[in-house]
């Protein structure tokens, strides 16, 4: 055989092999298997194994989890794939992202069992039930207790406190353009000061030395002084994070401390609600509906807090001790309607960027 023929033969074999492998893997993905239900979600999704096993035992469906990056990326992937979805149920679209998938028709209606136990205020689509509320989480300013005790300074309580001179150069927040808590904090100021007033607030906040970094990881792990059980090297005692961050700080600590090393400024919060929905065009509609029921079941709802550090949507779900002992309930968080967020988000972020970063 001459060299050309030889190489051509090798090439053909390799292409064939590659194609075979590719199709084989595509085919065995499990989408067609009626015993599998596929959950498309973001990187922070978590559930404990016994709870998932319980679902399989009761319904016969095995849950296959597909992760698509952060919540924004996951939702946008679903929008691009609408009508021919990657899975059966999407979990993890929050109220800051909800408008687009609803408008684009990503979800099919289904009223999940157990919805009656969820407060009416959380139901974003009460007529058609295209999405089901699963959990809520508050984004709030956290403070380092030890830092404020050492300085004999009372920690701030509200957004108005943050612009006072005694809290100068203490707060670090995230880039609203690409960080979810960063955007939520911006929305907290929009909700509190209104569409006309928030710009003035941020001017004052900037004059008072707010620091903006790109991600939550950097703000919390590297810049905040209260993270990592006080081992954090950061020098900012105030950070935009979650209301559940203090309980998480305590988790696994031995012996159990009296209180969490960090606290919450209760009047600085914005509430994120996470929704799940049946994907339009899902291959396993029946399994998807069962999975939605399961997400609202008491079992899953009571498993949520210690797995994803959020609050269950069901009112009758019991909170774990970690949350009741070290967490705070936020009674009156700031809110902005999803439609309003969708309409103005880009413009708000542009304005915010020019006010804080440039």
């Amino acid at each position: 055989m001459n060299k050309h023929a030889q190489r051509a033969a090798a090439a053909t074999t390799a292409v064939l092999a590659l194609a075979l492998v590719a199709t084989a893997c595509g085919g065995s993905g499990g989408d067609g298997d009626p015993k599998t239900v596929t959950l498309v979600t973001h990187d922070s999704f978590a559930a404990s194994k016994p709870v998932l096993k319980d679902f399989t035992e009761r319904t016969g469906y095995k849950v296959k989890v597909l992760r698509g990056g952060d919540a924004g990326a996951t939702v946008n992937q679903a929008v691009l794939n609408k009508g021919n979805p990657q899975g059966d149920v999407l979990f993890g679209v929050d109220n800051t992202l909800l408008s687009r998938p609803l408008e684009e028709g990503v979800f099919a209606p289904y009223e999940a069992k157990g919805l009656s136990a969820v407060p009416k205020g959380l139901q974003a689509d009460p007529d058609k039930h295209r999405v089901t509320p699963v959990d809520t989480g508050d984004v709030c300013v956290n403070y380092d207790r030890k830092w404020f005790a050492d300085k004999k300074l009372a920690p701030p309580r509200s957004l108005a406190d943050l612009v006072k001179p005694r809290y100068k150069n203490l707060l670090v927040t995230q880039n609203a353009a690409n960080s979810s808590p960063g955007l939520s904090f911006l929305l907290a100021t929009v909700g509190t000061y209104g569409e006309k007033g928030w710009q003035g607030y941020w001017k004052k906040l900037r004059a008072n030395g707010v620091e903006v970094v790109d991600s939550w990881e950097q703000a919390y792990n590297d810049r905040f002084s209260g993270s990592r059980g006080g081992k954090g090297k950061g020098d900012r005692p105030l950070v935009v994070s979650y209301a559940s961050s203090p309980p998480v700080e305590v988790m696994g600590a031995k012996p159990e401390p009296e209180q969490a090393p960090t606290g919450i400024a209760k009047e600085t919060c914005f509430r994120q609600t996470e929704y799940a929905g049946l994907l339009d065009g899902a291959k396993n509609t029946k399994g998807g509906k069962a999975l939605l029921d399961f997400l609202l079941s008491k079992k899953f709802q009571e498993d949520l807090p210690l797995q994803m550090f959020v609050n269950p949507a069901r009112e009758d779900a019991e909170l774990p001790k970690l949350f009741t002992k070290y967490g705070e309930t936020i009674d009156d968080p700031a809110t902005v309607a999803p439609q309003k967020i969708a309409k103005n988000r880009e413009q708000w972020i542009k304005t915010w960027t020019s006010l804080t970063v440039k």
């Binding site: 922070s44 950097q218 998480v248």
Partner: protein
């Protein structure tokens, strides 16, 4: 050439064209005014300018700092060399979030350098540039050093006997011979820093954005596909221009050289000059690479009750109960499996492409060469979202297949394989093969006994690269919804995204494991001995 071409078209060209097309085609007709609108936006122009100049500066700085390193690894023999070569490659596989965190711990506010010297680098361009050196040092040491080690030192010695000074001999004899591999290294570093994402976000802060960051924002966050499409095309244009310059500058310099086995060219350092170079290289490595890595390891062992294995133990026990924490053994297994598959694909595709590129000449082939480099200069999110909308119909519905991950990783690995193999393949003297043929060897035999021994080392180097790239690859894999089999970098990023000392500590512990796995594999690869051409 058929395999690499098919691979490239199917897994790169088609998905990228699909996502760009979706952006530019609205309501059935091409919407091209958006091009002008996006490209005249002053904010975008600023992003473009910053992207180009930081990449150029990073490349220059990396070359300046790493070239002496390449010399030391190629020409000097000293104890612990193999280990050190593996250590400098470790940054290459670290997730940028982790490395960024280590850099901040060193040079950030309240960091080690701040405490000792009052030196602060955070949110300055210097932090970005130095981090790029940290990541890409190994690229230069491995591509240039690997080639340098095989250059016959007698040529330079001959020049010196003929009266040339040390520097003049190096400049006139060695440097021209190194040019192709230098060009390759510079190109790869430039492309890597050109598409820098994590480093810019962690160390640059919100004030600095590269095209990559902007494309990510427009695609993943805003779903502004038209703008993203224009930016992607801009990225292509910039990369294509760069590739053209590179091809033009390198073509002229490639020539047949006499290559010798690497083991024979290294000597023990002699004289004050060589010792000085060795020590200064070791100092740079210690400060720029070992110190940040040491910070990570320190944090992995600095548990809640003092130093110990608390975080490592937690990784083992917590992974039993839930789906969030990944058992380290499982993550290592996933990482190794994906990386092995990706390396294999990259070696087959890249090897065949390099072979084709050596044998054939002409504009078409050179164009193909440039095309295969494009994935390095393309945003991971473009490829990831492209996969999503292009490979969504049977028989090629790969969206939820695990196979997409090694495929995406191989796309980044292929350019490395080609760039490492090509200079060596092109320098193989054709007459050697012809002589073998005259003596009656079949083409296959001639290839096995003449070329393979000469190329074997480069093949190993490129395998190491492809492996390291896919081990650390994070971008593309994150943008593909994939079955829940997290690799080490993905698991690290997940843990870092949570508050609490235990989570942070476990992230550091996993990073330490990732570093060990990488160093272990690279050391094992170095141990594989190749036939030396002197045996026959």
């Amino acid at each position: 050439m058929a395999v690499p071409a098919a691979f490239f078209v199917l897994f790169f060209g088609y998905p990228v064209a699909a996502i760009v097309g979706r952006g530019l085609r609205q309501g059935g007709h091409w919407n091209l005014d958006i091009v002008g609108r996006v490209l005249s936006d002053p904010d975008i122009l600023q992003v473009l300018w910053f992207t180009v100049w930081q990449a150029a500066a990073s490349t220059a700085l990396t070359l300046a700092l790493a070239l002496p390193g390449a010399y030391v690894f190629a020409r000097l023999r000293f104890p612990g060399k193999g280990l050190l070569r593996a250590v400098v490659t470790v940054p290459f596989v670290l997730p940028t979030v982790v490395a960024g965190s280590a850099f901040l711990a060193l040079g950030g506010r309240g960091g080690a350098l701040d405490e000792w010297f009052g030196l602060r680098l955070d949110t300055s361009v210097w932090a970005v540039l130095l981090a790029h050196v940290f990541f890409n040092y190994a690229v230069v040491v491995r591509t240039v050093g690997g080639f340098w080690a095989q250059l016959d030192p007698r040529q330079e010695e001959a020049a010196r006997v003929l009266g040339a000074g040390r520097l003049a001999a190096w400049r006139r004899v060695t440097l021209p011979a190194l040019a192709p591999s230098l060009g390759a290294a510079a190109l790869i570093v430039f492309l890597f820093t050109f598409t820098s994402f994590g480093v810019i976000q962690v160390l640059g802060g919100p004030r600095f954005a590269t095209l990559e960051v902007e494309i990510y924002r427009q695609t993943a966050t805003l779903l502004e596909l038209p703008t993203a499409a224009v930016l992607t095309l801009t990225q292509f244009a910039a990369v294509a221009a760069l590739l053209a310059v590179h091809a033009w500058s390198v073509r002229k310099r490639e020539s047949a050289l006499s290559l010798v086995p690497a083991e024979r060219t290294a000597r023990r350092p002699e004289g004050p000059a060589q010792w000085a170079v060795l020590w200064s290289v070791l100092a740079v490595i210690a400060l720029l690479i070992v110190l940040p890595l040491a910070v990570l390891v320190e944090r992995a062992f600095n548990g809640p009750d003092g130093y110990g294995l608390a975080f490592f133990r937690a990784l083992g026990s917590q992974s039993e109960s839930g789906t969030f924490v990944v058992a380290p053994a499982a993550a290592i297994g996933n990482s190794l499996a994906y990386a092995a598959a990706a390396t294999l694909i990259a070696l087959v595709v890249g090897g065949l492409a390099a072979a084709a590129l050596t044998r054939r000449a002409g504009r078409l082939v050179r164009g193909f060469d440039a095309l295969l480099m494009l994935p390095l200069g393309t945003s991971a999110v473009t490829v990831g979202f492209g996969f999503l909308i292009a490979l969504d119909e049977p028989p090629l519905d790969l969206r939820s297949s695990w196979f997409l991950v090694p495929l995406a990783q191989a796309l980044v690995g292929v350019p490395f394989v080609i760039r490492t193999l090509l200079p060596v393949l092109r320098s193989v003297d054709v007459r050697l093969r012809e002589a073998a043929a005259v003596l009656g060897a079949s083409p296959l035999r001639a290839w096995r006994e003449v070329e393979l021994p000469l190329v074997g080392r480069a093949l190993l180097v490129s395998a190491g690269f492809a492996f390291a790239v896919s081990l650390g690859e994070f971008g593309a894999t994150v943008f593909i919804a994939r079955p829940d089999a997290p690799t080490l970098p993905v698991a690290v990023a997940r843990m870092l995204g949570r508050a609490g000392e235990m989570n942070y500590g476990q992230a550091m512990a996993l990073s330490t494991i990732l570093m060990l796995v990488c160093a272990g594999v690279l050391l094992a690869l170095e141990r594989v001995r190749t036939h030396s051409p002197g045996e026959f």
